[in-house]
């Protein structure tokens, strides 16, 4: 709808940009942005305005303010991965996905916060501090929470965004942008999407270019899309998907952007409910919500069947081995020689490397590097890495079998519970948290399948709960069509944020989930 507003001149790109920028300033306490590119954003907005005046917008995304997770390379704008290792690093090139968005006229507001090098499930372990879930300050949450103190300062029992793309999720959720890029390796887009009440899409591996996305696990990473509604996600997907010669893991087939039909008849649909996703630790509240959703489909005429993905319980361990091994490899380039932080220690090359890496990486990163190198040792390789690859194959085959049996889409919870308060979350270490929180999301990464979080309902604490749909390889159209139908049925409420209401001049107000398409 915002795109339509831009087209008809109800609002100009520069107005839109300025509003977002000022909203970013008033929601600074969320710590969603690491870098705000005010000058360049305004320039982009002005250029967009010129195009609209001439009646020649580049497309639906022209003039739309967006944010990008800080592990995507952006030329001329700092890219830090929330790490001391890349503090001050200004990349000379744009990631392909960033370039595509800019080529469509999108306005890049800034780089969002994350867990350091995308390692984590809370967006709490970056060097710029944790990201706060905007819902912590929503009327809905405040109404439900037990008043702890009478102070009016912004220190309620704030909850986490989830991670690692927490900054992007918070940015979209708090209306400071209309869409954001995240990354998803084990759930890093879907998890924070669920906690922040936004749509989080993980596309099929190989559909969208990873060139310029600073890798965590090359064989599982995908750029993720965060928006306020499913239609918007489809639009962004349409502008990003397709073969990139710079990324040899993208498929060659031509991609045709699609518009989502308004599905009314679900009787031909088969929804699979994997029983193993009734995971230990799943809150009874979410179990109920999941059940209700299944009923919703059944009552509407869809075929809802219980299915089994028997190797689900091995996925965490398998993921741990493969992830840390690739991390150990991918982080080897950070030696302080060519770019990034370099230690003052200069007694020898080796000592410089060691000091640089100790100073540049946090404990989480270093822990994973050590584990990964252990698994890659000659004497361990067969036992761990090769074994894990075999298990990965089994996990992927589980999905193949289920989809072959006639199921179109799987319906699962996205998270084990609603967002935890920060003080609770940090009681356990990153590794423990990741292992717990990734269980529902990372099998999709193992299998390379597309998956999407759709905000469903508010929990008893007034916080968002989302459900996940997992689709067949490269069948994003079907996946998003089902997701859109579901979204329409559940009518997830809009966040009631004071700051947003203050800035709202009608643009955000009318729609349930202020979308741009």
């Amino acid at each position: 709808q915002v795109a339509a507003a831009l087209k008809e001149g109800h609002v100009t790109p520069t107005e839109l940009c300025q509003r977002c920028l000022s909203l970013i300033k008033s929601t600074k306490f969320l710590n969603a942005y690491i870098t705000v590119a005010e000058e360049t954003a305004l320039k982009q907005a002005e250029a967009s305005e010129e195009r609209y005046k001439k009646g020649q917008p580049l497309g639906v995304l022209d003039g739309i303010p967006i944010a990008v997770k800080d592990n995507f390379n952006t030329a001329g704008i700092e890219t830090t991965c929330a790490s001391n290792m890349l503090r001050g690093y200004i990349s000379p090139y744009n990631a392909t996905v960033v370039q595509k968005l800019l080529d469509q006229g999108a306005v890049l507001l800034g780089k969002t916060n994350l867990d350091e090098f995308a390692m984590g499930s809370g967006s709490t372990d970056g060097v710029f501090g944790p990201v706060r879930n905007p819902w912590s300050y929503s009327r809905q949450y405040k109404e439900k929470s037990v008043p702890k103190s009478h102070s009016e300062d912004k220190e309620p029992d704030w909850v986490i965004t989830g991670g690692s793309s927490g900054g992007s999720a918070a940015a979209v959720s708090s209306f400071t942008c209309f869409a954001a890029l995240g990354s998803d390796t084990g759930g890093s887009t879907r998890n924070p999407a669920a906690h922040c009440g936004v749509v989080g899409l993980k596309p099929t591996y190989g559909l969208i270019s990873r060139h310029g996305l600073i890798p965590l696990v090359n064989s599982m990473d995908v750029p993720g899309i965060l928006t306020r509604c499913v239609d918007d996600a489809a639009v962004v997907l349409g502008s990003l998907a397709g073969h990139d010669p710079k990324d040899s893991t993208t498929i060659q087939d031509n991609f045709k952007p699609f518009e989502l039909p308004n599905l009314t008849d679900v009787s031909k649909l088969s929804i699979g409910i994997p029983k193993e996703y009734h995971a230990p630790g799943l809150s009874s509240e979410i179990l109920t919500i999941w059940s209700k959703a299944a009923d919703l489909f059944e009552n509407a005429g869809a075929k809802v069947v219980e299915v089994s993905l028997p190797h689900t319980r091995y996925s965490i361990v398998c993921y741990h081995v493969l992830c840390t091994a690739e991390v150990a490899s991918n982080m080897a380039r950070f030696d302080g020689l060519e770019y990034g932080h370099r230690s003052d220690m200069n007694e020898s090359t080796e000592s410089m490397y060691a000091a640089t890496r100790r100073e540049g990486f946090n404990d989480v990163v270093r822990g994973r590097i050590l584990s990964g190198n252990y698994f890659l040792l000659k004497q361990n390789y067969e036992k761990y890495f090769i074994k894990a690859q075999k298990v990965r194959r089994l996990i992927a085959n589980d999905f193949v079998k289920v989809f072959r049996s006639g199921v179109d889409v799987l319906l699962t919870p996205t998270t084990l519970s609603d967002a935890a308060p920060y003080v609770e979350f940090i009681k356990e270490d990153n590794r423990t948290r990741s292992a717990q929180d990734d269980i529902l999301t990372q099998a999709a990464n193992m299998a390379g399948l597309p998956a999407i979080n759709v905000p469903t309902v508010l929990s008893e604490r007034g916080l968002p709960v989302g459900l996940q749909f997992i689709g067949r390889s490269f069948q994003e159209q079907q996946l998003l069509t089902v997701a859109k139908w579901f979204e329409k049925q559940v009518q997830f409420p809009m966040i009631q944020l004071e700051e947003v209401n203050r800035h709202d001049h009608g643009v955000f107000q009318h729609q349930k989930s202020a979308s741009f398409s």
């Binding site: 090139y93 060139h211 890798p215 090359n218 890659l376 390789y381």
Partner: protein, 456 residues
């Protein structure tokens, strides 16, 4: 004392002759200003990905076919990890699990007793050929306690050719490498100039008594020419024999060849056993090659490599060229070796033959003895020869027509060598070297000489 059997294997790295690097678009060029040929990927900037260079794959396939290898229709890329200043990513992309070509052979010839009259053919098995990245260069500035890193070479495509330990001495290794060099140059897959680092050879050397298992082997590195290769290997064989005969043991280590001292030195400070933590390269799908049979009908021609197509277009390999020379011109086999051994000499020879009536069997003597020795004396390549094929042909024609004697011809050649632009005929006239057939004239000269004699 029981005899010793030396065993020599080789690991040869040949730089692929291509415009751009193996996985990135930056240029391949020798002696460019430091760090002027470095792409984002070469510098290991975060987020960059490798993209395979088609030409490099073709070069490897050509080389594999020329060495009688089986080309693996599916080969894989791996990461080999170690930290070093000239390896920006902290790992090298190579082919450890399944290389592009395996199980080939290389035939080479040696002359027995240095006589060039008796040549014997030997074969060495080629274990495999793999594609991998070259590293950058690091220069250690000890005075300022710093290391300077030039990444121009980082990422250049290499073919690693592994020769099984079928050789027994420096001479054999040198001959094998020489033949490989010629093959690579003929194919154009590598310029293989050792002095420019385009061909690097490491030797694996061990000794044992016949009937006993192979001894512990050492790896000898830092060999900069084929001559030094033979020297280094022979030295190492001797060193090992002496060590063992004195009751010592051989360590499985890397040794550097010191060309000034003519010996190998232990590189013990470079830790022997390194665990490279090999891992599949996740950003490169398996490399699939096709042949005429397996090529799918609707494949985009640009995207595939057809092994059979490459096979059909292979040029004549040195061994074939030599055979043809022997067949066509009737020269001896050992002559054909020398002709091919000098860059451009075979062409020179053929050019002369075309332009002269003298039989090739006679021409060859002039080429291999006279011309070649002049070139060697003055350290010139065939291309730099002041005597062109036409000039030599003219000279040989004079000789053939019996207008001058062979002694005179040699004199003329010496004069031609000065490169003053005179033709053979002009020189003959100048120096009055013509053979005289005229009876009367001869009588006059003889009489004159006799007269002179009498007067003294």
């Amino acid at each position: 004392l029981a005899p010793w059997v030396p065993v020599v294997g080789l690991e040869i790295h040949a730089q692929i002759s291509s415009n751009s690097k193996l996985f990135s678009g930056s240029q391949v060029q020798f002696a460019a200003p430091p760090n002027s040929l470095v792409s984002f990927f070469d510098a290991s900037l975060p987020g960059t990905l490798p993209v395979l260079n088609r030409r490099c794959v073709e070069a490897a396939v050509m080389t594999g076919l020329a060495l009688n290898c089986s080309i693996n229709k599916k080969s894989l890329f791996d990461r080999k990890h170690y930290f070093y200043a000239d390896l920006p990513a902290g790992y090298q992309i190579t082919q450890q699990r399944v290389p592009i070509a395996v199980n080939g052979s290389l035939s080479y010839s040696l002359c027995i007793d240095n006589k060039m009259s008796q040549m014997v053919t030997k074969t060495v098995r080629i274990k495999q050929i793999q594609l991998e990245q070259d590293s950058g260069k690091s220069l250690h500035d000890d005075t300022r306690n710093q290391t300077l890193v030039d990444l121009n070479r980082a990422g250049v495509g290499l073919m690693e050719v592994v020769m099984e330990p079928d050789m027994c001495c420096g001479e054999e290794a040198a001959a094998a490498v020489r033949e490989l060099q010629l093959i690579l140059q003929t194919l154009g897959s590598s310029q293989a100039v050792m002095a420019e680092g385009q061909l690097r050879v490491d030797a694996n050397v061990s000794v044992h008594h016949p009937g006993e298992p192979y001894g512990v082997r050492t790896e000898v590195k830092n060999i900069n020419s084929i001559r030094f290769l033979a020297k280094a290997i022979d030295y190492e064989i001797q060193r090992q024999i002496e060590e063992l005969e004195n009751g010592g043991t051989i360590l499985n280590e890397t040794r550097a060849f010191d060309s000034k001292l003519g010996c190998t030195i232990s590189m013990r400070d470079k830790e022997g056993k390194q665990d490279y933590r090999f891992m599949p390269e996740p950003n490169l799908p398996p490399l699939i090659l096709y042949d005429a049979k397996s090529l799918p009908a609707n494949m985009n021609h640009q995207q595939v490599i057809n092994i059979d197509w490459i096979h059909e277009r292979l040029p004549d390999l040195p061994s074939v060229k030599r055979e043809k020379l022997v067949e066509q011109y009737g020269v001896l086999p050992e002559h054909s070796f020398t002709l091919l051994n000098e860059d451009g000499l075979a062409e020179f020879f053929e050019n002369v033959v075309k332009q002269t009536q003298m039989k090739p069997k006679k021409v060859i003597g002039w080429i291999l003895q006279d011309l070649l020795s002049y070139l060697k004396q003055h350290s010139l390549t065939v291309k730099e020869s002041p005597v062109s094929p036409s000039l030599l042909a003219d000279l040989l024609n004079l000789l053939e027509k019996k207008e001058i004697s062979s002694t005179a011809a040699k004199q003329v050649l010496a004069e031609l060598w000065k490169g003053e632009g005179k033709t053979p005929l002009e020189i003959v006239k100048e120096q009055k070297l013509q053979l005289l057939e005229d009876q009367k004239e001869l009588e006059q000269i003889c009489q004159a000489v006799i007269d002179r004699q009498e007067n003294e």
